[in-house]
C-alpha cells in the first residue's frame, strides 16, 4: 500500500517535472516554431538565478524561484530575441545552428562568472512519511505548482487579448499585420514569455537537480521530443505527452534503472510517432490548443 502510494507520487512528480521543463519550449518551439537549442541553457540560467539569489543575496527561496528566476530569464529572452533570434524567424534550420551557438555562449558566460561548480540549494520544507518512506514535501508542492501553471498558461492563451493576438499572429503573421498588429512586438513578447516559463522551470527544479553550467544538455532532447510528440496543439499536447512519458519513465526507473527509464521514454516516443505521425494533438485532440 505504502509502495503504491509512493509510486503514484513518484509518477506524478515525474510528469510534473517533465511538463514543467517543457512549458517554455511548448511556447517557443510549439507555437512560434523557433527551434531553441538553448532551451536547456535557459533553464540553467533560471537555476543559477535561484541559487545566487538564495545563497549569495539571501533572498527567500520561494521569491527567488517563483518571481526572480522567470523575470531574469524573461529579460535575457527579450535581449536575445531583439539582438539575435529575430533575424532567424522563418528559417528553422538556421535557428538551430544560431541557438546552438547561443547555448555554448551561455554556458561559457556562466562558467566564466561562476566557475564549474557552485553550491546548490536544498529543497525548502521538510518531508512527510508514507509508511516507511520519507517523501519531500517540496515534491508535492511542485506537482501543485505545475498544475496551476498550466491552467494559467491555458487561460492566458485562450482568455486574454494578449493570448489571442499571439496565437493569431503565429498562425498567420501576414494577416495579423494587416489587422494592425505589430508582429515584431508579438514575437518579442511571446518569446519572452516562453523564456520566463523556462526560467521558472529552471528555478523550481534547481533544488532537486544538479546545478552546473552544462546542466541544460540533459533537458534539450527530452523536452524537444516531448513537445514534438505533443503535436500541433502545443500546450495540451505537451501536457498529454508529458503524462505518457513521465509515467513510462518513472515506472521503468522504479522497476529497473533510471537508464532504462530514459530508454523507455525514447522508445515510447518512437512508437507513438509511428502511430500518430502528426503528434498526439494532430490526431486525437484536434482543434485543441
Amino acid at each position: 500500500m505504502d509502495t503504491a502510494a509512493l509510486l503514484i507520487i513518484e509518477v506524478l512528480n515525474g510528469i510534473a517535472s517533465l511538463a514543467l521543463a517543457c512549458a517554455g519550449l511548448a511556447i517557443i518551439f510549439g507555437m512560434m516554431r523557433v527551434i531553441n537549442f538553448a532551451h536547456g541553457e535557459f533553464m540553467m540560467l533560471g537555476a543559477y538565478t535561484t541559487v545566487v539569489c538564495t545563497k549569495t543575496l539571501g533572498i527567500n527561496i520561494w521569491i527567488s524561484m517563483l518571481i526572480i528566476s522567470p523575470i531574469v530569464v524573461g529579460i535575457i529572452g527579450i535581449i536575445v530575441e531583439r539582438t539575435f533570434i529575430r533575424f532567424f524567424y522563418g528559417r528553422m534550420i538556421d535557428t538551430l545552428i544560431a541557438t546552438w551557438g547561443l547555448s555554448l555562449l551561455l554556458i561559457g558566460i556562466v562558467t566564466a562568472i561562476f566557475g564549474n561548480i557552485i553550491e546548490g540549494v536544498s529543497a525548502p520544507m521538510g518531508s512527510f512519511e508514507v509508511g516507511i518512506y520519507n517523501v519531500a514535501q517540496y515534491r508535492m508542492v511542485l506537482i501543485g505548482i505545475v498544475i496551476l501553471l498550466f491552467i494559467g498558461i491555458f487561460l492566458v492563451l485562450t482568455r486574454t487579448k494578449l493570448g489571442l493576438i499571439a496565437r493569431g499572429t503565429m498562425q498567420n503573421p501576414a494577416q495579423a499585420s494587416v489587422l494592425g498588429i505589430s508582429t515584431q512586438r508579438v514575437y518579442m513578447v511571446t518569446f519572452a514569455l516562453g523564456a520566463a516559463l523556462t526560467g521558472l522551470a529552471g528555478g523550481l527544479l534547481a533544488p532537486i537537480s544538479q546545478v552546473i553550467p552544462t546542466a541544460g544538455a540533459a533537458y534539450v532532447a527530452q523536452t524537444f521530443i516531448t513537445v514534438i510528440t505533443g503535436g500541433t496543439g502545443a500546450v495540451t499536447g505537451t501536457l498529454v505527452a508529458s503524462g505518457v512519458f513521465g509515467t513510462v519513465r518513472q515506472l521503468l526507473s522504479y522497476e529497473f534503472t533510471p537508464v532504462l527509464g530514459g530508454v523507455g521514454l525514447l522508445i515510447v516516443a518512437v512508437v507513438l510517432l509511428r502511430l500518430l505521425p502528426q503528434g498526439i494533438t494532430g490526431k486525437i485532440f484536434r482543434r485543441s490548443l
Partner: protein, 351 residues
C-alpha cells in the same frame, strides 16, 4: 544556385579537380609534413570528413535531415572494436563496420520511409535512437555485458583496440602513417564515389525527390525505395568513418552517441554549405580545428569563444561558406560564370 545547375558547371568541374589534387597531395605528403602527434589528429579529421560527406550527401542531395548520423558513426566504431576484439584480424571487422551501420540505417529507414512519416519524424526518431544507444552503452560497464570475448565497458569506453592490419595477417598492424594513408584513400574514394553518384541517374533522382517528392512519384519513381537507398549509403559511409575514427586512438566511448556530437555534424554541414560535398568537409575540419585551437589556449573559455564565433558566423554567412564563396566569386570574377555572361573586362583579366 542549384546543385546540378549548369551555371555552376565550371565551378563544379574546377572545384572537383582542385579538391582531388589537394587530397592526393595530402595523401602522399601527409606523413612527411606532419609530426606523429599531428598525423594522429589529421587522421581523425579525415575520418570526420568522411562522416561530414555522408551527412552532406543524404541531407544536401537526398533532402533527408537525419539528426542521428553520429549513431551510424558510433555503430561503426563499436562494431569494429567488438569484432576485432573477437576475431583478432581486422579485415572482417573493417567490412562489418560498414555493413552493420548500413544495415541498421536500412532498417531504420524502412521503418520511417515505408511508414510514410514526416520529415520532422525522421529527425526525432534518429535523435531518439542515438540517445537510446547513448544511454544503453553508458550502462554496460558491468561484466555481464560481453559480446564474445569483448566487454562493452560502459561509460569507460573500450580502449586498446587493435588497429587495422594488412589483410590476412593479424599481427601486421598498420603503422600510424599507413592508417593515415588508408583513411585518406577512403576519403578520396568516398568523395569521388559520391561525385559520380550525384551525376548518375540515381543521384539526379535523389535531388529531384528532394525538390518534389510528389512529382517524382507521379513520374513513376518509387520515392520510398530511393530514399531508403540514399539513407543506407549514408549510414554505411558513416560507419566507415567510425571504423577509421577508432583507429586514430584505439579508443571508443559512448560519447560518440551524445547529443552534442549529433548536433555538431549538422553544424558542419550548415556552416560549410548545404547542397555541396566539399562544404560539409570544410565545415567539419574548420570547426574541429577551431575547437582544438581554442582547447589549447588554457586560459580562455572554450564554450564562450566557440559559441560566439558560431553566432557571428550564422549572422554573417547564413548560406554557408561554399555557397557564399561561389556568390562572391561569380560577382567579382565574371569569367567564372558558366553562361559566358561575364563582361569584357572580366575576360581580358582572365587572359
Amino acid at each position: 544556385m542549384t546543385v546540378l545547375g549548369v551555371n555552376l558547371r565550371n565551378w563544379e568541374t574546377w572545384g572537383t579537380i582542385l579538391v582531388g589534387i589537394a587530397m592526393v597531395v595530402l595523401l602522399f605528403a601527409g606523413p612527411h609534413i606532419f609530426d606523429l602527434f599531428l598525423l594522429f589528429k589529421v587522421t581523425l579529421f579525415v575520418a570526420m570528413a568522411i562522416l561530414a560527406l555522408s551527412m552532406g550527401f543524404i541531407w544536401g542531395y537526398g533532402g533527408i535531415l537525419c539528426f542521428g548520423q553520429s549513431a551510424f558513426y558510433g555503430l561503426g566504431a563499436y562494431t569494429y572494436a567488438i569484432a576485432v576484439g573477437n576475431i583478432g584480424e581486422s579485415t572482417a571487422p573493417f567490412l562489418l563496420a560498414i555493413v552493420v551501420p548500413g544495415a541498421f540505417a536500412a532498417l531504420l529507414g524502412y521503418f520511417v520511409f515505408y511508414g510514410r512519416l514526416s520529415d520532422v519524424y525522421l529527425a526525432v526518431v534518429t535523435l531518439a535512437v542515438t540517445l537510446i544507444l547513448y544511454n544503453f552503452m553508458r550502462s554496460t560497464a558491468g561484466e555481464e555485458y560481453v559480446i564474445g570475448a569483448q566487454r562493452l565497458m560502459g561509460f569507460n569506453g573500450i580502449s586498446s583496440i587493435q588497429p587495422i592490419n594488412w589483410p590476412g595477417d593479424g599481427s601486421a598492424w598498420l603503422l600510424p602513417d599507413e592508417i593515415f594513408h588508408l583513411a585518406m584513400f577512403c576519403l578520396i574514394a568516398c568523395y569521388f564515389g559520391l561525385k559520380l553518384l550525384n551525376r548518375s541517374h540515381f543521384g539526379r533522382v535523389a535531388v529531384a525527390i528532394r525538390e518534389n517528392e510528389l512529382r517524382a512519384e507521379l513520374l513513376g519513381y518509387d520515392v520510398r525505395l530511393h530514399k531508403l537507398q540514399t539513407f543506407t549509403i549514408g549510414g554505411a559511409m558513416a560507419g566507415l568513418a567510425g571504423c577509421l575514427g577508432v583507429n586514430f586512438n584505439s579508443f571508443v566511448n559512448p560519447d560518440v552517441f551524445a547529443l552534442n556530437f549529433a548536433a555538431e555534424i549538422i553544424m558542419w554541414t550548415l556552416i560549410g554549405g548545404l547542397g555541396t560535398l566539399v562544404g560539409p568537409m570544410i565545415g567539419c575540419i574548420g570547426l574541429l580545428m577551431l575547437k582544438f585551437e581554442i582547447g589549447q589556449q588554457q586560459i580562455t573559455n572554450t564554450y564562450l569563444i566557440f559559441g560566439g564565433i558560431i553566432m557571428l558566423f550564422v549572422l554573417l554567412v547564413p548560406a554557408g561558406l561554399l555557397p557564399t564563396a561561389r556568390q562572391l566569386g561569380e560577382r567579382y570574377l565574371p569569367m567564372l560564370r558558366a553562361d559566358g555572361a561575364g563582361d569584357g573586362r572580366g575576360r581580358e583579366a582572365a587572359q
